[in-house]
């Protein structure tokens, strides 16, 4: 067994264990923290597969920012100690059935390996961030810039939709306070 395989097995075990722990832990904050560990492990697996850019994205965006957001939401809603129960009935049963179907599908695919050779292709491209950057700034320059616009619109959305009092909050907060006091007087 090569060292790469051993590292992979260890990482895979950690990832699966984290996923299970995330599901079973009763405290939502612990769940979120297990998810962070899971994301980080997956990030290392990406690194092993020779995809450093995706690994960096996984760590910074998912394990970093999105999990911060998750934790904020959990703390915001006070959902750290959720009561166990199903908001919609029968979800567990459906989940179990679909899970079993998926597992059966994977097992069948592994046993028969039919069509696998057609699906698996090999990419012979340079996946280093620098090469990726070159490609991104040459061929995909337009999508790159459009991405920044999408992010900008997301900023606007985040600000508008979370503003504390959207009706009474124009440009300058100070002016507004004056308005209010004037009205009271």
């Amino acid at each position: 067994m090569s060292p790469a395989v051993i590292i992979f097995i260890v990482l895979a075990l950690v990832a699966v264990a984290c996923a299970v722990a995330m599901l079973v832990s009763k405290n939502a904050v612990y769940s979120a923290l297990f998810l962070v560990l899971n994301f980080a492990t997956i990030g290392v697996i990406y690194l092993m597969l020779g995809a450093p850019f995706i690994a960096v994205a996984q760590i910074t965006v998912y394990a970093g920012a999105i999990m911060v957001l998750f934790l904020f939401v959990i703390m915001l809603l006070g959902g750290e100690n959720l009561r166990l129960g199903e908001p919609l009935r029968g979800q567990r049963l459906i989940g179990l059935i679909f899970g079993a179907v998926l597992l059966a599908e994977i097992v069948l695919l592994l046993i028969f390996r039919s069509g696998m050779d057609q699906m698996v292709g090999t990419l012979t491209i340079d996946t280093s961030p620098a090469a990726l950057g070159l490609e991104m700034f040459n061929k995909y320059s337009l999508p790159f810039e459009v991405t920044s616009l999408v992010l900008l619109v997301a900023v606007i959305g985040a600000v508008i939709l979370t503003r504390v009092d959207p009706i009474r909050r124009p440009g300058k907060p100070d002016q507004d306070r004056k308005d209010q006091s004037g009205r009271q007087a």
Partner: protein, 482 residues
């Protein structure tokens, strides 16, 4: 970055830059003078419209990275999107003041959305198509929720966002599978790969179907229409009007582009799916509209029904003989629907009261007596929606059915005719309320709304005398077929 790219996208980039400036300039415009922002937004749209029209003589071309394309199809749609944007500004200005949501961001977001639509019309690569889809959708998620303390508006934004994100996932997954099967994301590359390289048919068709499903969500085709009535009802009415018209047009623009540029060789797999989608959408949309009491919900179901008619135009997409007819009737119907729809939504906006009342059918009682011009405009729109002669809607449906029959889909055309007859019931009911019931409707004094409604009504009637001119414009806008 190559110069062709800049040439092709000049109007779009100009509009984007203007939107960016507007967003920042608006921060220094005081709350009472948000009219300035509206005027600036309209000026930006008009300037982009001028730039687009000046590109009319540009030869059809793609840039060197095959990311975007400039052809008559895209230019035609650009004009449609920019005009819808202008109507969106006209509809919004007074409404925002009335509803006390004088957010200047409205206009910047509207411009970003229009820019996303224009990008979508020009996109020739699945990656860019996805990003353009996001750029046009995200501002609209925000705009649906801009009337925020109102619960309906929040519900609308949340539903639209969740289902929109879900459908974007479908588009992205479809794109990934198509890339996996063909190793290409540019549309002509996919077309070429389908003809030459060995392509795993299962993966490719799966990807294509996922792409279709994602876009079917965006154009609210049955069975992916569940979100439409709730979102349209809860969103501020000008936003709804813009969504119902422009987003639908953008969705069909890209559907038509992908189907005709990349997928013509897999017609036998995709045509049955499109057929079923079109038939279901026409039937469900029209039948559900009958029972609606709220005019907003009724028009929402009507927009679903019209998505069905538009899908019908695309069903014979793989038939090379009727290819230009497909495109011409699609674009023609889009224009007819856009003019009629924007006008109708302008009337609805004019009758909505500050507290969100005035949206029931009963509220239209007596409009014929109290506001004869507005009622006449609404009459024109309802007749055009139904497809009665002397309106643009009639010619739209006429060309549509002709294309379907020429393509060999007579049964679909029959379904179209029958559902149009059904639709007469609920469209004409509005007329009955306006002219035969007594009542005293209150109409907001909103000159721009009335200008929009009357101009749209005039266009719907006048262009119906010269349908060939519009049809030729739509038909001449040749797609670059590889």
């Amino acid at each position: 970055m190559n110069s062709d790219l800049l040439t092709i996208l000049l109007p779009t980039l100009a509009l984007t830059g203007w939107a960016l400036l507007l967003l920042l300039v608006d921060l220094w415009i005081p709350r009472e003078h948000k009219g300035i922002t509206a005027v600036l937004a309209a000026a930006g749209l008009a300037a982009a419209l001028g730039l687009t029209l000046s590109q009319g003589r540009l030869p059809a071309m793609t840039d060197s990275t095959v990311m975007v394309i400039s052809d008559g199809y895209a230019l035609f749609l650009d004009v449609l999107f920019l005009a819808s944007g202008l109507a969106g500004v006209a509809l919004a200005h007074e409404y925002l003041k009335r509803a006390n949501i004088a957010n200047g961001e409205y206009y910047a977001l509207l411009l970003f959305s229009v820019a996303g639509m224009m990008l979508m019309a020009h996109a020739y690569n699945l990656i860019l198509i996805f990003l353009a889809l996001e750029l046009l959708s995200i501002p609209l998620y925000i705009l649906s929720g801009i009337n925020r303390p109102r619960l309906e508006s929040e519900e609308s934004a949340l539903k639209y966002f969740l289902l929109g994100a879900f459908s974007s996932g479908f588009v992205l997954y479809g794109t990934a599978l198509i890339y996996g099967a063909t190793a290409r994301t540019d549309l002509p590359g996919i077309f070429a790969a389908l003809q030459s390289a060995p392509v795993n048919p299962v993966i490719f068709i799966l990807g294509a179907v996922l792409l279709l499903v994602g876009l079917a969500y965006k154009v609210s085709a049955v069975p992916f229409h569940m979100w439409t009535p709730d979102v349209y009802e809860g969103a501020p009415t000008p936003v709804t009007g813009f969504m119902a018209v422009a987003v639908k047009a953008a969705g069909f623009a890209v559907l038509g582009r992908i189907l005709m540029a990349a997928f013509p060789t897999v017609g036998k797999d995709l045509t049955p799916i499109l057929w079923a989608l079109a038939a279901l959408t026409m039937l469900v949309g029209n039948l559900a509209a009958i029972t609606q009491k709220s005019i907003k919900r009724m028009l929402a179901y009507s927009s679903i029904a019209h998505a069905g008619y538009l899908l019908m135009a695309l069903v014979p997409f793989s038939n090379r003989l009727v290819n230009s007819d497909v495109q011409a009737s699609l674009l023609f119907y889009l224009v007819a629907y856009a003019l009629t729809g924007l006008g109708a939504w302008a009337v609805v906006t004019a009758l909505e009261k500050q507290n969100g009342d005035g949206l029931k059918l009963e509220d239209y009682a007596g409009l014929g007596k109290s506001h004869p011009w507005l009622a006449l405009a609404m009459t024109v729109f309802m007749l055009s929606f139904t497809g009665i002669p002397l309106t643009l809607g009639f010619w739209g449906k006429f060309y549509l059915f002709r294309t379907a029959i020429e393509g060999g889909f007579t049964l679909l055309a029959v379904i179209g005719v029958v559902t149009s007859l059904i639709s007469a019931y609920y469209y004409l009911r509005v007329l009955m309320y306006m002219y035969m019931r007594a009542g005293s409707p209150s109409v907001e004094r909103a000159p721009w709304l009335q200008v929009t409604a009357v101009a749209a009504a005039l266009a719907v009637v006048l262009i119906s005398f010269i349908p060939n001119v519009l049809l030729n414009l739509a038909g001449n806008s040749l797609l670059l077929l590889p």
